[in-house]
Symmetry: C2
């Protein structure tokens, strides 16, 4: 567990630096079984002007480019991410062949702090486990929440679509 | 309804041509309220070697690039797609600000015909409607199913990750 906490603390630090450079307050990193970093990215929705560009999506794309495959399963990769993935990113993880998911703050915290709508994802941890994907969440939560509360306090852009309802 | 059926038939025809050129058997198109085509794309997972590159994801990215925004809501766009979107694409639609979704074959048909795992998405239509997004499905289903059964019969690549479970 200490290994996972260490990586989560590291990515939370890096995410804070990236926010200062115009990225969103989420960062994802993919590691192989021997602890090699395969890819890392912050959310770049604002920078790239593309609502698809969440941290997890970017990290998956970079890893697949680096390894030359759309199926990461044989590399037994672990995803570390500063927050519980949203509906889009959970779907992307299923398609990618990622084997383990570790995250810091929960969706409930993300939605309460930022006002983002993380989508529809009941019982996703059980469904992931049914598909052979391990999940471990709420690691270093206080640090994770601080990244988001700072982002909001600093009045940075909340990049979500306008809704009539 | 005839207007929607016409567009679905058109995108099914285009999808078939794109399959012959190495794309996956799914196509998505975004139209504005006056019927202008804003963007269109097939699934390019194999071509781009990226598991994120579903038709809907590509069409959203192209539209946001064209219109210069990560929030499409003010354009009141309708998404037409040859099959019910998977979990990833449903999440992406929520983030994009798309207002209406029209599709041909259901997820049940997609999974039965192709063997793809479309993810976890219970009651998504109700959840979309709660967010002000209209959904209309199973339009020109027989033509939609034919696109997928032909893809499988022709022994084209089923691009999904290997699972141990």
């Amino acid at each position: 567990m200490e290994k996972h906490s260490k990586i989560i603390r590291e990515i939370l630090s890096q995410a804070k630096i990236n926010v200062e450079n115009g990225y969103g307050p989420f960062l994802a990193a993919l590691y192989d079984e021997t602890g090699n970093l395969i890819s890392q990215s912050s959310n770049s929705v604002i920078k790239d002007c593309c609502s698809n560009h969440h941290a997890e999506m970017n990290a998956i794309k970079l890893a697949e480019k680096k390894l030359g495959t759309y199926d990461l399963s044989k590399y037994n990769l672990s995803l570390y991410v500063t927050a519980e993935p949203c509906m889009m990113c959970l779907g992307a993880i299923l398609w990618s062949g990622i084997k383990k998911v570790f995250y810091s703050v929960s969706t409930k915290d993300v939605e309460e702090i930022t006002g983002f709508d993380e989508g529809i994802k009941p019982d996703w941890i059980k469904e992931f486990e049914n598909r052979g994907i391990e999940v471990c969440g709420e690691i270093e939560v206080e640090e994770g929440k601080k990244l988001l509360t700072d982002y909001v306090k600093e009045k940075r852009e909340i990049y979500k679509p306008k809704r009539e309802k």
